[in-house]
């Protein structure tokens, strides 16, 4: 699905990612955990095509394409989706119009006909249920005056409509209460399939009780310092990052 090799990236001259290697196969769920400021969002944003990061070394191949050469919209059209940590508010653009335009751009790319208003409405109604969102959100401006939880659910809702091949969730669980967390996790689980992969970025092990990953990676100071199975998340929950970081520090020294 995606193959990240020795990825180095910097912002305004400061190196943030210092050689990331990550291989995700179809159907797999990978969790990326790590302390604040370790570079998790940077990684996610680079994959989505944000331009303010400069990739200084390494490569990313997505479904056989050189991902780093592609425009953000082409990445999305090929099946990459990033659920943002902080979704932006866009006054004046309705959620419905936004999603319909996005969906039809993706369909056109796949050589499919544009969806008409009726078909679209049917689809979104179904997907709204998945994240237990009210239909009234469709007419509202994208994320404007949505609560924190509503914004996160809106990201998952968009993902459910656009049906990507790779979903990257950047702290979609942060700040959610347990009920909202279950809704979001349930939405993601329903989208899991042998063809679809996920990279779930999170701070908290709790999410991984609901979205059980195949692999867990610990990202610290721009590097993956440990990888393991779902049990690694439980280990981190009990022991925190410190021990791991210290051990890594010593190893590096």
């Amino acid at each position: 699905m995606i193959s990240i090799k020795n990825l180095h990236a910097s912002v305004e001259g400061t190196e943030i990612l210092k050689g990331i290697n990550l291989e995700v196969k179809p159907g797999e769920v990978h969790a990326v955990m790590g302390p604040n400021g370790s570079g998790k969002s940077t990684l996610a944003n680079i994959l989505a095509g944000r331009e303010e990061y400069e990739v200084t070394e390494g490569s990313v191949s997505f479904l056989g394409n050189d991902l780093l050469e592609m425009a953000p919209e082409d990445r999305a059209r090929e099946g990459l989706f990033l659920a943002f940590q902080y979704p932006v508010e866009i006054p004046g653009v309705s959620n419905a119009n936004f999603l319909k335009t996005a969906l039809n751009a993706i369909r056109e790319h796949r050589g499919e006909d544009a969806m008409d208003a009726m078909e679209f409405l049917k689809l979104v109604k179904d997907r709204l249920q998945l994240v237990e969102m009210d239909q009234k959100f469709l007419q509202r401006s994208v994320n404007v005056s949505f609560s924190g939880g509503e914004k996160k659910r809106n990201e998952i809702f968009q993902m459910a409509v656009l049906e990507p091949k790779l979903g990257i969730l950047d702290e979609t669980d942060s700040g959610l209460d347990i009920d909202a967390l279950k809704i979001v996790a349930n939405g993601v689980n329903k989208l899991r399939s042998p063809e679809r992969s996920f990279i779930v970025v999170t701070h908290y092990q709790r999410l991984l009780d609901y979205i059980v990953p195949d692999f867990v990676h610990v990202l610290a100071k721009g590097k993956i310092i440990k990888s393991g199975g779902a049990e690694l998340a439980h280990y981190l929950e009990e022991n925190g990052y410190d021990e791991l970081l210290n051990a890594n520090g010593k190893a590096a020294a």
Partner: protein
């Protein structure tokens, strides 16, 4: 010799000369009370001359390209029904006044549904509604220091006359359509509108200014309007300016809003080589309100200028002003929003915002709020922003598969939405939205 005022220009002389021949064509109208105003106005114009950029109100508005042109007094031009079809609105097909080069066209107009509103050409109203005309015409628009208003008053002959009697609620909107067609020589035209709403009446009005023929045709439209919104009356006016890209359009509007009355004005500026609007609102009674909205989209080398002046002369009035626009290519935008809160005008609320988006690096905007507040118990705010589309917004849309160009267009429309969503007449709003989308995708 007064260099300052551009007095000795050939163009000034030409207008003064034209006035003499204009007078001889007036027939009966030269004996009216109003004709005395015309004579006063032409001598005021001769005294003032055209403004230069040394004039504070014209500081950012260089009209030298206009001053180099020659114009002759407008004559009517042959325009048929099919040519004006694109400019008509659903729901207003039977209540419209059409003017060609400033001259009323009975064939193109239709007043089958007048809703109790008196709507006719000003020329006819001079005879048929003498009392109202004499009471209001040229009584409100001050031209002593305004050369374009003076020139309009001097040449004012035709235009729209609208009178809404007491307690009359017009069920349907009324459409005023000003068509320009300069098939041979560039013309000058000075349409004059007089709009009077008597106590507790209501009217929705759409005024649109278009042209037939090519974008290169040069002409000079110098509009003026006097608007009286009587006590407890409500006027909603949407004005669309889409003149040719080579035209010069100037517009002076003076509105008086009486107690408990409300005036809503939305100005949309799209056309013109130089377009300058002076929009002045004066509150003459307490608890009156005004909403002043503006949208502009300029490209090429267009110069679009909006000067507004809101005079809070009495207490307890509200004014809410929002201008938004896009500047592309090498276009130049000017916004000057003056608000005066006089010493007696306590409990005034005055809000003003101007937001411009520069689509091109070569476009420029000069925006200046001008608040003068002499009362202490007031709530006033103003702001001006000049920006670009937010990269974060653009990225969000693109990250969902929307192409860059489409994403930009969506954000542009969204930016204008604040203005458009407040246009109450659906057919007008939809047409305008389509028009803007069309311009963005050109």
């Amino acid at each position: 010799m007064n260099q300052e005022k551009n007095k000795n220009l050939a163009l000034c002389d030409a207008f003064i000369r034209d006035f003499q021949s204009f007078e001889t064509q007036l027939n009966g109208q030269s004996t009216t009370q109003f004709h005395k105003e015309r004579i006063k106005a032409i001598s005021t114009f001769a005294e003032l001359g055209f403004p230069t950029t040394r004039d504070e109100k014209w500081k950012y508005t260089n009209i030298s390209s206009f001053l180099k042109k020659e114009f002759s007094l407008a004559a009517s031009s042959k325009v048929d029904k099919s040519q004006i079809e694109p400019f008509l609105f659903d729901g207003m097909q039977k209540s419209r006044l059409v003017f060609v080069n400033g001259i009323f066209s009975a064939e193109l107009s239709s007043l089958d549904e007048n809703n109790g509103v008196v709507a006719k050409s000003l020329e006819a109203a001079h005879k048929e509604n003498k009392e109202v005309v004499e009471k209001y015409l040229a009584q409100h628009l001050i031209f002593s220091d305004q050369p374009f208003a003076a020139l309009n008053t001097a040449f004012a002959r035709d235009g729209a006359f609208i009178f809404v009697p007491r307690n009359t609620i017009a069920a349907q909107p009324l459409h005023l359509l000003f068509i320009s067609s300069s098939d041979s020589v560039p013309f000058h035209s000075h349409p004059r509108n007089l709009i009077v709403l008597a106590e507790s009446s209501e009217l929705q009005l759409v005024e649109s200014r278009h042209f037939v023929g090519d974008q290169e045709q040069i002409y000079f439209n110098n509009f003026a309007a006097e608007i009286i919104v009587g006590a407890n009356a409500k006027l909603d006016l949407v004005r669309i300016q889409d003149e040719s890209k080579s035209a010069f359009q100037f517009s002076s509007l003076q509105a008086k809003v009486d107690r408990d009355a409300h005036f809503s004005f939305t100005g949309v500026d799209l056309g013109g080589s130089i377009s300058r609007n002076d929009t002045n609102i004066e509150f003459t009674g307490e608890n009156a309100g005004a909403q002043l909205l503006g949208f502009y989209y300029a490209n090429g080398t267009q110069l679009l200028d909006n000067h507004t002046f809101i005079d809070h002369a009495v207490p307890h009035c509200n004014s809410d002003e929002l201008f938004k626009g896009f500047m592309d290519d090498q276009s130049h935008g000017v916004f000057n929003g003056a608000v005066l809160v006089r010493p007696d005008a306590q409990k005034t609320n005055a809000f003003q915002q101007n937001q411009a988006i520069l689509i091109s690096k070569d476009a420029t905007v000069d925006a200046k709020p001008e608040l003068e507040i002499f009362a202490d118990d007031v709530l006033c705010s103003h702001g001006a922003t000049i920006g670009e589309i937010q990269e974060e917004h653009l990225f969000y849309l693109r990250s969902r598969g929307i192409g860059e160009e489409m994403a930009r267009a969506m954000l542009h429309i969204a930016f204008a939405n604040d203005i458009f969503e407040r246009i109450k007449i659906e057919s007008v709003r939809e047409k305008l939205e389509d028009e803007i989308i069309k311009r963005f995708s050109e």
